[in-house]
Amino acid sequence: MNAPVQPIHLVRQKRRQSGPEPVDAAVLAEIRATLGAEADVSRRDLLIEHLHAINDRFGQLRTDHLGALAQLMRLSVAEVHEVASFYHHFEVVRPAADGQWPEAPALTVRVCDGIACELGGARDLLAKLPALLGAEVRVVPVPCVGRCEQAPAAVVHQHPIARATEQSVKAAVDAGSRTHEPAPYLDFEAAKARGAYHLLRQCLSGERDVESVIKTMESSGLRGLGGAGFPSGRKWRIVRSEPGPRLMAVNIDEGEPGTFKDRHYLERNPHQFLEGLLIAAWAVGIERVFVYLRDEYHGCRAILERELAALLEHPPMRDMPTIELRRGAGAYICGEESAMIESIEGKRGMPRLRPPYVAQVGLFGRPTLEHNFETLYWVPEILAKGADWFASHGRHDRKGLRSFSVSGRVRDPGVKLAPAGITLRELIDEYCGGMAEGHELYAYLPGGASGGILPERLADVPLDFDTLQPHGCFIGSAAVVVLSKHDRVTDVARNLMAFFEHESCGQCTPCRAGTTKAREIIASDKWDRELLADLSQVMRDASICGLGQAAPNPVDCVIKYFPEELA
């Protein structure tokens, strides 16, 4: 895009002379066939689903295909293109000067360059794989794919490889591994045999009433586990008091680098989540549910598609709310609740200004109950075991359980269900088998990319909502990344700021321009601390959503806790 576009009378005359060309009938037919007879082209909210169908079929999105889709959906081309070009998993391609369309890459290998994978050697993989795999295979770095405990992670088309090496990736490519067949899990029958949907039936039969269920939720102290920590019972009560129809949106866009807990539970026991979902829908009076799953979780998608079909075939309740599974398309920002709502509506995932809050004006303008996967996952267990059971856990005066996604320099990374308020040192020692061989604790990220960076001397602070704010950090989704003395936090901050820049939606100035400027400033050895402080302030004060507001955290923490690295 460097050369200026020439004046029309020089190059475009022919086209103008004959007016706009109509969408080619063959292309239109091809797109109609690709979408399938069942596809509902009258629903704008299905735009991203339709883009997926085309992208899956052709490996890319040609602009003439976008034009055909726009015509079928009665949208303008701009409305389709701006959405398609927003999401990283869609590659919009244009014809060359001779009218030829570029070939879609035969195969793409994605190497995660999230912080845990970078610590695990992703850079090295990225450097070596292209030569090893040859020109046919495209190797690209991608932001965190949610497999931090398996760092470094690579994905051959949709086939994930844990602790990837050049050899294991090559072997997978050669073996033709392209998809992800999930490991065995509790399917519908097995889950039912173990009592799944029993609690739901108790609710429906009148054995439990809405008030008692909401009370239990309130007194359990369960808070939103996506990161914001809003008390769940209270949220149910608020949305329930709004006028119908009410909707629910479930957030499984688990994109915060370092976080993989939702995937962990979903890969094992999807029906505990689905029962929680139906109980919440029943209690709040929800008509339609939308489950938004990040695109990277191909195995989870297979599980959910299967189990939702099973559920539909044997509905555990009459008038079950409709549950639509929606596929993200590669956008961290869609984990932000209002951006996710925009995405479900088939739009660019750009957060909304609040107020109004989604509980009042959410999906399709309706009051919306929005929950993280894990929050719903705990609902059946809390109802079965009682509010006191959940609240009885906890350490250092904190209450409840937290699922920590632990990665980085520990011996045994993974999801650790531990008492809320546990300290990092306790978590490493008691749950992770200590530090990895040859590594000594230096620093840690308590809450993924956004939650800031704390030094080893603050490894005894209880980890929970509200406990880390005094230190300029927060726990968020409880994604703990452990750093050792082999690591430099300045490099970590650069990785994280590059991530935020890459994932900023671009809507508001402080985040769009701020993440870029911050990345540029910290690229050098000498950081302009005064300028960074000003930038941090405007990003925190004036960004529309949490991405921009939290993006300065790692940089601020480096300046605050690790001045020696900047000396």
Binding site: G19, A78, R94, G506
Partner: protein, 956 residues
Amino acid sequence: MNARTPNDALVEAVPTVEFTLDGKTVQAPAGETIWNVALAHGVEIPHLCHKPGLRPDGNCRACMVEVKGERTLAASCCRSVSAGMTVDTQSDRAKKSRALVLELLMSDAGVASADHTNESELTHWARECGVDSVRFAPREADYAAPDLSHPAIAVKLDACIQCTRCLRACREEQGNDVIGLALRGSHAKISFDADEALGASSCVACGECVQACPTGALMPARDAGLAQITKSVDSVCPYCGVGCQLTWHVGPDKKGEDVIQFVTGRDGPANHGRLCVKGRYGFDYVRNPKRLTTPLIRRDGAKKDPADIDRVKRGEVALETLFRPASWDEALDLAAGGLKRLRDDALAKGLRGNDIPLAGFGSAKGSNEEAYLFQKLVRQGFETNNVDHCTRLCHASSVAALLEGIGSGSVSNPVADVAQSEFIFLIGANPVVNHPVAATWIKNAVDRGATLCIADPRSNALARRAKWHLAFRPDTDVALLNAMLHVIIGEGLVDEDFVAARVNGYEQLKASVAEATPERMSEICGIDADTLRKVARAYATSRASIILWGMGISQHVHGTDNARGLIALAMVTGQIARPGTGLHPLRGQNNVQGASDAGLIPMMLPNYQRVANAEARAKFEQLWGTPLADHLDATPGLTVVEIMHAASEGRIRGMYVEGENPAMSDPDLNHARAALAGLEHLVVQDIFATETAILADVILPASAHAEKWGSYTNTDRLIQVGRPALAPPGDARQDLWAIEQIARRLDLPWNYWQAADGDGRLGAEAPVARAYEEMRAGMSPLAGVPWSRLAREEAVVTPAAREDEPGDDVVFIDSFPTADGRATLVPTTFKPGPETRDADYPFVLTTGRVLEHWHTGAMTRHASMLEAISPAPLVSLHPEDASALGIAHGAQIDLSTRHGSVRAIASLSPDVQRQQVFLAFAYWEAAANHLTGDAIDPFGKIPGFKVTAVRVSAVA
């Protein structure tokens, strides 16, 4: 400004809240934004993405303020005030945040913005916020390359701050949906369609984005936006009937001569700042070198040959070989002398009225005052009623039906009333092309929840927003409408009270549509019966349904029947006389309403007073000080097509044509041009050597719209003021002056243009005001609108009975202006027209307009940017027909009818049906009216331009 704005009715009384603003307790309506309240209290908070009139978006963050108790700052343009809130707009934290935002944006776009525009809001607010240096590195240089592919708009996104004002203007105001925000993060970029170059995109060049852009990233092409502006003149658009108010920005060109540099929209009642491509970019015809600058007289021995038209147009014959320059005195003497001789000879022979062999064509493009004086000249000076104008070719049948049915030919409700409609029935109209700004109100209404039904054989850009597009078979409107009437009556959806109180002829109508079942009519019109039922129900039962129609209804040999059907729909359902309801024939030309009002039609004196009415004649005898009854026949004069027939038969021998171009606009051009060439004496007054002028004896070089004073009445009955921005070129003169000069030479004692008003070259207000005031004395709807009020208020909707009250934007509220105050229904039955398709002529040709070209193209084809965008005659042809005929997109094709043939360029489009083609009549290279026939509607006397049987073939 007294016409209702679209949003007025939506505003309900809201409670007031009290809150603290910068330490003061203030009150404001709940829901009002902090930004607006602050402005009302004298504080303009910095802002870039926010522009009053556009939906606030809150993305730039330049307007952040501190709200007590909140963790982050709030965007004042979006945040509503609430009771007890404490807002600090001037806290250090807020000010610092705003300054940082400006500094970030300046680092991205500041240098480029200062380079591209003299009015950068970015640099302005940076200065205001104390940002005098930028500490951040500039944006990467490859963010966006300049895009100069469009003839009218320059795109230089290096100055873009991604504020999306252009996007909201394009999509939420104009509803053109071309601009998107593509990509994301710092790469997020304004793009057109699927990121096309602007010139290759579907952009319709309304320029709303340019008007909205705060940084110069979107600007008029060729740096026109950087030109020196010496004066800005408020006026009204010269093109369509919407009547957009605009401002001409005038400054010297390279030679130091004043030209219009660019145009901006004004907040008029009809447009609220919006314009379309013609209004915004179609202004430089005024300074086209082909303008007529001196009177021309046909050379001795230069025969009038219709074939000269194409020769001159193609440049094969120079105009100077046919005409010689002359002085105004010589030209006027010759022009008037010829007319006088023909009149006096006829009078001497005892001929009267229609038998006087003279006729005049005035123009709907001229002002009310010109129209008024022109018809007065013909009636008083030619002593005949043979005066008409192109309304005959547009809405004559609509007006005939409306006058017959409800006693008034004007609209019942303004277009903008669609904002209050629940159901919009748009039939036989393509406002996106012909009334673009009116179309934006329709789009806005649909986007806010109104239901749109389009009934048109052709599709158009509004169809995407329509719930129904009834693509019925051409020429079967009556069947379609009768089916709807049948359903409404049969299903008990008639508003019985309204009918009982206000409608005559219901029983006859009921009987006449009894057999018109949806099933039977479906066979004729091709729309399935179920859909006909649904649409009829939706129209009848909505809270407020409005009908808008255009030439697709009127330009048929049964156009009056078509309009009768629409009137019947509104009457039986009572969908009239309330906001958001009614009947609106979308008027084509900027002053077609006013020209008709002023009596520029053969059967009526000003204000639709029939010439047959002795009382009316007496009134004008009094006003004009002339005993008309002696001479002026009480029978209506001839209409446009009748005049052409009379000319070819020798019954009309002399004509004065002012600003009209019948050699392009009339049907069956071979015949019409021959008739014009056969006239003994033809005087043409125009700004260009039009096709008609090439056949003239005398050509008088006239003034363009932007060179004169005048009032113009839009489709909403809104009367507005046009003002001169430029002097006419060379020795071109004011039309009003020239008309009067002719009149004086016909011995009429006129004295509008007085010595103090100049020599007729420069525009002058006083003579226009004199003509207006005389006209007003004969027209009761203008009783409350003296010229002084018009000049003061810019726009007054008529009828306006009192000077101290607004006019009536919705009329017929209590009664219709008929003898008994009731409407009369006229039953119709479907009859096929004369243009039948057969094996030789298997297609249907529909003629009309394209967005960029006005009428016969006399103005717009001389406007450089419009011509660059739309330079060639395109025939819309269905892709399947094209492939069957072996015709490629862009190929040359021949169109032949029983009347003539032309060669044009195929443009494949699914907007036309199979076996239908469409061609605009603006192109002399492929003059569409060579193809049309001159069969006319018996009541409106309008030709059936919409349906001609045609053969389509590839050029061998």
